[in-house]
Amino acid sequence: MLKIENLSVKLEEEDKQILNGLTLEVPAGKVHAIMGPNGSGKSTLSYVLAGRDGYEVTGGSATLNGEDVLDIDPEERAASGLFLAFQYPVEIPGVGNMTFLRTAVNSQRKARGEDEISAPDFLKLVRSKAKDLNIDMDMLKRPVNVGFSGGEKKRNEILQMAVLEPSMCILDETDSGLDVDAMKLVADGVNALRAEDRGFLVITHYQRLLDHIKPDVVHILANGRIVETGGPDLAMKVETEGYADILKDVA
């Protein structure tokens, strides 16, 4: 499903290489986790895949279902099924959450040549998904993420994911800033979306999120590339030994 080959990326503004030949494949139906110390390139990977400005791909490729994603606009990537749950969801004053979400759904449908969703169907869809995530409908009447707590912002990311039904979900440090209860709620939301035809790439600094979202494969990212790949036990190893020991082993 998502295939990243030998991807190298540098910051546009400064001559700083962030990713150095990263290779990774997430098949449909699987949950892959990426763990790594601060500055290893985790967030860069998520932003480059989603199409944020400011990065320059210096080598390699990334494809979603065989199609190059690095060459197309962020909205086209979204329409083709890629979704990034932001580490820091953006506040947009003056743009209502529901308006935003309905515009997003309909834009994606339009790009795929599908009919727009009717207003009642949309409302019904959002209501049921919001209920699962314990999101108050009143909250959705407010501007996008404005005045939301950290937990509300993350739940709102998962709500968007649930409503947009992407085929490839990238979660960037979705656990950061969450207490245990909120993390469980978010993880339940993610688990509910696990499906045969959907892949997940869960980026996290800590193992604890992976207690709730059980990964099939765990990768360790350091210095811009994958240095070790293993099963869920690799995450446990990080938890008990820290990154330093693992990186020492690799070196």
Binding site: D73, P74, E75, S107, A111, Q160
Partner: protein, 422 residues
Amino acid sequence: MSALADQKRLAAEAMLSALPVPMEEAAWAHDVRAKARARLLDQGAPVRRDEYWKYTDPSKLSAPLALAGAAAGQPMSSEAFGGRPDAWFVNGRLRADLATPSAADGVAISTFAEVVKQDISIAREIFGVLEVAGQEKVMRPLAILNTATATDGLVIQAHGNAGRIHLHSDQIGDGASILRHLIRVEAGAELTLLESGSCSNAVMEVDVAEGGAFHHIRLQIGTRTPSASHIFARLHASSQFKTFTLSADGDLTRNEVVFDLVGEEASGHVAGAVLAQAKSHIDNTVFVTHSAAHCESRQVFKSVLAGQAKSVFQGKIFVRNSAQKTDGYQISQSVLLNEGAEFLAKPELEIYADDVACSHGSTTGALDPTAMFYLRSRGVPKAEAEAMLIAAFADEAIEEIADEELGDLMRDEVARWMASRT
């Protein structure tokens, strides 16, 4: 006399001599006109070297112009505010064949051309009086010219809930249209004035009595001739004054709003949304005077600029030592959609009372790239994401309009401008 003063006086003489001296008016009006001529010659016309005209070249606005021909053809139909105007002026004259202003419950309506021939107290108490008061700290010669030469306008006296009145004016062909509107909102009364169209020189004097409320919503869409407007308002105790202007493009537009809070607990709000592209130039100049204690004033201006458009905001809060517990607020912000567009802001505070809360702020920049990326990452195409953010930005000014329905009409105008942007 200095060379500059000479130049200003000569320009004022040229402006006055291009226009007819109003005839057959009542003695009191004749007196107001004569004094205005003398004041204008004394002050001179505005020139670029005047500090108040630093960002907007006044030469097109102070060029000598004869009155536009009254016999000009049929104006375009007015679609503004989704209905037919209650009063329709073309080239500075009422066109009773297009719309007849009629009295309704709570309101008396007449025309400026009529009242200057008679001895009507509200006209005598307002005409020229509020304009003169508004010259205290800064000279506004184009308003003086209006006092000396205005041909017609609307005179409204609201003494109950007057509802909405829609005033429209067209400017056809070259020449000057000089309109003078006189408005009195009596104690406890309420009036909403909708204004559309264009006029080369329009002055409105508004007197809001105790507990009265005046709402003014103005649409300036694609004004093709240089236009100067002034609103002079006097706000008595516990009265409310709210004016909002949406200016979309326009060759050269200067809007001055000058109001004085003379009674306690009065509130004055002025807001504007500027949408400008190509070589449009739109100037909003506001002067708020706090004379009485416990009053509140707000200025909220938002500019969306593309091409080589220029938006100017000059906003001043002047607080007299009598105006303790003043609450004054001012914000002016712009979004520049490309390099080449320009926003020039000059916020000013002059405060002589020691127990006041006054704040001002001004920002300018591009659309937030982080917000753009967030929207696009969810599948919203770039143009649509831009439109959403611009609508949200302009909305902060539109929200100043008390009436939801009128606010929505302004939102439609913003969307229309976004869609038509080249």
